[in-house]
Symmetry: C2
């Protein structure tokens, strides 16, 4: 495997501002997996990911006596999160608070200096108008609830030392706040991603998920209509549909059984539209040691396209360095 990194060489003399990407979604919706491939593709110097779930007002002990869950804005320094996102968007450093997920304490803050690309992931990055205004592109991860619950039980029991019963009880406790604060963020995203087996096609629940990607006309997406048709028998297809709210949207479907050759066509269009003559970075689509998902790779590729496009619109030359 030859990992590739896409890096940026400055052409403009004025200092470029970082490109800001938001990835919002509930706990265990897949934010970290989606982020990881982008970070690997852009390299340590080209990108920094910031988790905005660190802006907790209270530690775990204090929270246990309070009436709200970590999903509630009242439980977080939302005003400071907005301020820090504004500072990062302007290219300024921040001293970011740190929440220790292992023992639930609030630790010493860390210095975050902006990189060319900033990926801001967490529960509430799209909650307020001021924070939304900081992003070049926003993504909402929208897995079906039963899938997300499964993912959360698996992760929290394996990695965070909880029992299945504890995780399920926590999910129930959080439901009201998820309805009130997390899911409303879906409407503010430029891209809504649903990783899930597509039942209509008889995909088993435990197989690798397919992706349904809503590309809203709020962002300058690559034009895929020239190469993708509406034929749902195709492993990758694009359909013009109405969103939940009745608004028109492009729905890109990438089925789990899509092959690398099939995704290559999408890749070629995207690289060509950026003027880049290169292969897809190998890190895209990785979901574990030796395990690869073409749907994930296509989603990450579209996000990478937007990051690179935003740099290009700032007059910066793009360069794939390895």
């Amino acid at each position: 495997m030859s990992p590739k990194s896409v890096a940026i060489r400055r052409l403009s003399t004025s200092s470029p501002r970082p490109v800001m990407l938001a990835i919002a979604g509930d706990s265990a919706a897949g934010k970290t997996t989606l982020t990881r491939g982008l970070v690997d593709a852009l390299g340590d110097k080209g990108v920094i990911s910031v988790c905005v779930d660190d802006y907790h007002r209270y530690d775990r002990v204090e929270r246990s006596e309070l009436p709200f869950t970590p999903l509630s804005p009242a439980c977080n320094y939302v005003g400071i999160m907005e301020q820090h996102l504004q500072l990062l968007a302007m290219g300024e450093p921040i001293l970011k608070p740190v929440y220790n997920h292992t023992d639930g304490t609030l630790d010493r803050p860390v210095l975050v200096e902006p990189a060319n690309n900033m990926i801001v992931e967490g529960l509430l990055p799209l909650h307020s108008r001021l924070s939304r205004a900081c992003f070049d592109l926003s993504v909402y991860l929208d897995p079906p609830e039963e899938i997300r619950r499964e993912w959360k039980v698996r992760r929290d029991s394996r990695e965070r030392g909880y029992t299945e019963e504890q995780v399920l009880a926590d999910l129930s406790r959080r439901e009201a706040d998820a309805v009130a604060f997390i899911r409303p963020q879906r409407r503010w995203a430029d891209i809504v991603v649903r990783f899930a087996p597509i039942k209509e096609r008889g995909e088993a629940e435990h197989s690798l998920p397919s992706a349904t990607v809503l590309l809203r006309p709020t962002a300058p997406h690559p034009d895929l209509s020239r190469i993708l048709g509406e034929d749902t028998r195709e492993a990758i297809h694009l359909k013009l549909i109405r969103d939940d709210d009745g608004k028109p949207v492009d729905a890109l479907h990438v089925h789990a059984y899509a092959t690398r050759d099939m995704t290559r066509r999408v890749e070629d269009v995207i690289w060509a539209s950026l003027g880049i003559d290169h292969q897809l970075p190998e890190s895209l689509g990785a979901i574990g040691p030796g395990l690869r998902s073409e749907p994930l790779a296509v989603v990450q590729l579209i996000l990478l396209y937007h990051l690179l496009l935003a740099r290009k619109l700032q007059g910066l030359e793009l360069e794939v360095i390895r």
Copy 2:
């Protein structure tokens, strides 16, 4: 005792920005004592004091293996301190880091929301141009070194659990950084305050100190020349002198033996020039339970004058509430 607080009622409809006062000086120079009386006079709602010695990059253990002392800018997040001072000066809240002086650890940060008046005290508030630009008025505390050493030994051995030998060794270790970074701040202050026995007058070293207050023409000080003469036999007198750098400056001397009646004259001029018909807040001059220093009271009164004047210049009505 009837404590008085001076509070501010807004007249202007546009949001007023906080008035920012810097009190810079080396460790144990008297910053806390000077600040305390002002905080008591203005009340919890009218003023917040912030210590900028919390912007440490390293905790005590990490620092023990590093070549610089806490006085060195390299040991501090100076850029973040500047950013936070700018935010406070604009009336924005900050999430301020916290250094725990008791055990030398970096703790969870705290929310600081700006009040009408912000007193920013510490080792390095006047170190950089960007931070100096945040202040309406700046003060440098300049006690003679032998007096400061005495104060530091007394405080650190009584309150911070060090032996006299440890404090003296620490002072030696810090001397080079004090010369390089602390004392140069003297030149940027609008007011330089020296609390010390005035030897020419035979004052004993351990008596309550007198004050020498350099009022530089960089700030709109109250005009005391009409009521104070140059006669050094007077308990309070004002002399036109040359500063260390040859520049002209008003030197106000307040001797330790000045009585309350003597300071009342200065007080009357200051209140009158602000259009306030009130007595000196009782909290000014307090140096301990039942212990009062007229020189300290006069210095605090001058600082209070500047805080109130800056509010007045913003078009806000001043109101003494209790």
